[in-house]
C-alpha cells in the first residue's frame, strides 16, 4: 500500500498545479476576445457540420476500436503474469503462450481479411 503514497502525492501536486494554473489565468489574464481567439487553438482542421441525423460513418473505425479493446484486454493479463513470472515456472510460460496464440490466430485472420489496411 505504501507504494502508492508517492503516487497519491504526485497526483495531488498535479491536480493542485492544474487548478492553480486555471484559477490564476482566470484572475490575472486580460479578457479581450476576438474571432481568432475563440477558435480551437492548434487542434487540427476546422470541424465541418455533420449531416442532420448523423449520417453513416465508415465502419472501419468500429473495427479499429474492436481491435484496440481486444488487444487491450489481452495486455492486462500480461501484468499479473509478469509480476509472478519468477514464481510460476515453465507452466506459466506455456499458459501465456497458449493465451497469446489464440489471440494471435485472431490477428492472422484479421490480417488476411485486410482488417489492418486502411484503404
Amino acid at each position: 500500500m505504501n507504494l502508492y503514497v508517492p503516487i497519491a502525492v504526485l497526483a495531488l501536486i498535479a491536480f493542485g498545479f492544474a487548478m492553480f494554473s486555471l484559477v490564476a489565468s482566470t484572475l490575472a489574464g486580460p479578457k479581450r476576445f476576438n474571432r481568432a481567439k475563440s477558435e480551437a487553438y492548434e487542434c487540427g482542421i476546422e470541424p465541418t457540420p455533420q449531416p442532420v441525423g448523423g449520417g453513416r460513418f465508415p465502419v472501419k473505425y468500429y473495427l479499429t476500436a474492436m481491435l484496440f479493446i481486444v488487444f487491450d484486454i489481452e495486455i492486462i493479463f500480461l501484468y499479473p503474469w509478469a509480476v509472478t513470472f519468477d514464481a510460476l515456472g515453465i507452466f506459466g510460460l506455456v499458459e501465456m503462450v497458449l493465451f497469446i496464440v489464440a489471440v494471435l490466430v485472431a490477428y492472422l485472420y484479421v490480417w488476411r481479411r485486410g482488417g489492418l489496411e486502411w484503404e
Partner: protein, 518 residues
C-alpha cells in the same frame, strides 16, 4: 512488492485432466482450425474444407465423451465437474450440434440459409454482386464451434466464474450468427440486436448474482457455496438476492416466462439452421447449468427456491401454450412451443431428485432431436423469396408433398405429446417425477397446457392436410443428402424414443444415478 515476491513460494503447476476435458478441447480446437481455414484457404474452397472438418470433429468429440462414461471427478483445478449427468448433457449437445451442422452445411446457392456478405448493406449493389457471385459467409462454421464449445463448458462448470465465461463464449457467437440470414436480412439483424441487448442485460444480472453469492459464501465454487448454505444461520438476504439474479441469467437463456420475450423474435429472424441450434443445443446447455446450480450449489435451500420455480414453471407452460395459438408464422409458433416445453422440463427440474434429473435428461434429448427435425423441414418449404414461414402459405401442403407434410405432422404430434412419439415418453417421465416429488398441482397445470398446446399443433396439421393448396404456394425443395439426413435422424430418434424408450430411459437413469459431482 519485491520483498513480497521473494517471500512468495513457487506456484505449483496446475493439474489438468486432458482426457476428461477432451470433448471441449476438441470442439475449441475445431473452432480455431476453422478460423485458420478462413484465413488461409481460398474463398471458393472453404465450405468444402469446413463441412467435413466440423462433422468429423464433432463425431470425435462425441466418441471422447462416450469414453469418459463412468467418470465422477472434478477436473482442471476444480473448474469443471465431469460426472454422469454432465457427460449425458454434453453428449446430447454434441449429437444435436452434429445434426444442426448438417443443416448449416447445406450449401446449394439457392438454399443456403446464410448471408452472402454480412458486411454489405441490405439492398445495395454490393449485396447483389455478392449474391450473383454465389458467395456465402463461411465464418458460420468457426462461430458455431465456439458456441458449441461454450455450451459444453456451461453445464460442466463447477464454479460460477467458469460458468460465466462459458455463458459468454456460447452467447457471443450466437448473437452474430442470428444476424446472418440470407433472406429478410433486416429482420435478421433486428433479431441479432435484440438478442444481444437483452442477452447482455441477462449476463449482467448473472454477474451481479455471482457477486452477491460470493458475498454470502466467500467462494464461487458450487461445492463451497453448498457448504455455506447448509451451515448458514442468520442473514440470508445476500444469498437470496444472489440466487434470484443468477436464476434470471439462467432462465433467460432457456427462455422461461417472464424472461422469454426475445425468443419469438430471435427464432424468427435467425437463419433457420441457427434457430435449430439454439432451439436444441442452447436449451440443453442452459438446463444443464440450471440443474447443476440448483442441485449442487443450492440444493440445501430448495424450500426457498422451489416456490419461485413453481411460479415460473406454471407461467412458462401456460403463457407459452396460450400465446402460441395466435401465431401465424411457423418459426414464431415453434418459438412459443419451445417456451412451453421449457416449462414442462422445469417441472422435472423442480422434482429435485435423481428421478427428476433423469427424466429431465431424457426430455431434453427427445425434445432436442424433434426440434432440429422440425426446423429442418421448415428450411425445405420455400418460395421465390426464400423460406415460406407464414402459416397460410403452408395450406394444402399435405396434398402437394404428403411426405414432407406427414413428417412435419409427426414432429408436431411429438411436440404435443401423443403416444408412440418421444414427446409422450418425455412428458410422462417428467410428470411422473414431479408427482413423486410432491408437485401434483404443477402436473395438473402441465397436462392442461399440453392440451392447449395440442390444439395449435393440430391446427397446423389441419391447415396442411384439410385446406386447399394455394395456387402460387410454396414448393418443397427436394432435400439434399445433408438436410435429408437431419430430417431422418429427427424422425428416427422421435420414433425410437416413443416406441422403444426403455434403453434411453435406462441410460438417463444410469447417468443421473450418481447425481452431480461436488
Amino acid at each position: 512488492m519485491n520483498s513480497q515476491l521473494l517471500a512468495q513460494s513457487a506456484v505449483q503447476a496446475p493439474h489438468i485432466e486432458y482426457g476428461q476435458l477432451a470433448p471441449m478441447l476438441i470442439v475449441f480446437g475445431l473452432a480455431i482450425a476453422g478460423v485458420l481455414v478462413e484465413a488461409f484457404v481460398p474463398r471458393r474452397a472453404r465450405s468444402a474444407v469446413h463441412a467435413p472438418l466440423t462433422l468429423v470433429g464433432l463425431a470425435a468429440a462425441f466418441v471422447a465423451t462416450v469414453l469418459q462414461a463412468g467418470t465422477h471427478h472434478v477436473a482442471a483445478e476444480g473448474a469443471v465437474g465431469v460426472d454422469g449427468p454432465t457427460l449425458f448433457i454434453q453428449g446430447t449437445i454434441i449429437a444435436l450440434a452434429f445434426v444442426s451442422s448438417l443443416l448449416i452445411a447445406e450449401r446449394r446457392p439457392d438454399t443456403s440459409a446464410f448471408v452472402s456478405d454480412a458486411a454489405s448493406v441490405p439492398g445495395t449493389q454490393e449485396e447483389r454482386e455478392s449474391l450473383v457471385a454465389g458467395d456465402v459467409q463461411t465464418e458460420v462454421y468457426p462461430l458455431t464451434m465456439f458456441a458449441v464449445g461454450g455450451m459444453l463448458l456451461f453445464p460442466a462448470a463447477n464454479d460460477l466464474l467458469t460458468m460465466f465465461v462459458a455463458l459468454e463464449v456460447l452467447s457471443l457467437p450466437l448473437y452474430v450468427l442470428c444476424g446472418l440470414a440470407r433472406r429478410r436480412r433486416l429482420l435478421s439483424q433486428e433479431a441479432a440486436v435484440k438478442y444481444f441487448l437483452l442477452g447482455a442485460f441477462s449476463s449482467a444480472f448473472f454477474l451481479y448474482g455471482i457477486a452477491m453469492v460470493y458475498g454470502f459464501a466467500g467462494s464461487i465454487r458450487l461445492s463451497e457455496i453448498a457448504l455455506a448454505v447448509s451451515h448458514s444461520g442468520g442473514n440470508e438476504t445476500l444469498l437470496l438476492l444472489g440466487l434470484a439474479l443468477l436464476g434470471m441469467g439462467l432462465l433467460f437463456k432457456l427462455g422461461a416466462v417472464p424472461f422469454h420475450s426475445w425468443k419469438p423474435d430471435v427464432y424468427q429472424g435467425a437463419p433457420t439452421p441457427i434457430t435449430a441450434l439454439m432451439g436444441s443445443c442452447t436449451v440443453v446447455a442452459a438446463f444443464g447449468a440450471l440443474l447443476r446450480v440448483l442441485y449442487v450449489g443450492f440444493g440445501g435451500m430448495q424450500w426457498d427456491w422451489r416456490p419461485f420455480m413453481w411460479g415460473i414453471a406454471i407461467l412458462t407452460m401456460v403463457i407459452g401454450a396460450i400465446v402460441a395459438i395466435t401465431q401465424a408464422d411457423v418459426k414464431r409458433m415453434l418459438a412459443y412451443s419451445s417456451i412451453a416445453h421449457a416449462g414442462f422440463v422445469l417441472t422435472g427440474v423442480i422434482a429435485s431428485s435423481s428421478q427428476g434429473l433423469s427424466s429431465t435428461l431424457f426430455y431434453l434429448v427427445a425434445y432436442g432431436f424433434t426440434t432440429v427435425g422440425a426446423f429442418a423441414i421448415v428450411t425445405l418449404v420455400r418460395d421465390a423469396a426464400g423460406e415460406a414461414n407464414h402459416l397460410s402459405r403452408w395450406a394444402g401442403l399435405g396434398r402437394r408433398s404428403p411426405l414432407v407434410a406427414g413428417i412435419f405432422a409427426f414432429f408436431l404430434l411429438a411436440f404435443a405429446g401423443i403416444p408412440l412419439t418421444s414427446g409422450f415418453t418425455g412428458k410422462f417421465a417428467v410428470f411422473a417425477a414431479a408427482v413423486a416429488g410432491g408437485a401434483t398441482p404443477l402436473v395438473i397445470v402441465g397436462v392442461l397446457s399440453s392440451a392447449v398446446a395440442a390444439f395449435f399443433y393440430v391446427r397446423v396439421i389441419v391447415v396442411m392436410f384439410f385446406s386447399d393448396p394455394n395456387p402460387d404456394g410454396p414448393t418443397v425443395a427436394a432435400p439434399s443428402l445433408l438436410t435429408g439426413a437431419a430430417v431422418a435422424v429427427g424422425v428416427a430418434v422421435t420414433l425410437v424414443l416413443g416406441v422403444l424408450p426403455q434403453p434411453a430411459l435406462d441410460l438417463a437413469a444410469n447417468a443421473a444415478a450418481g447425481l452431480f459431482v461436488r
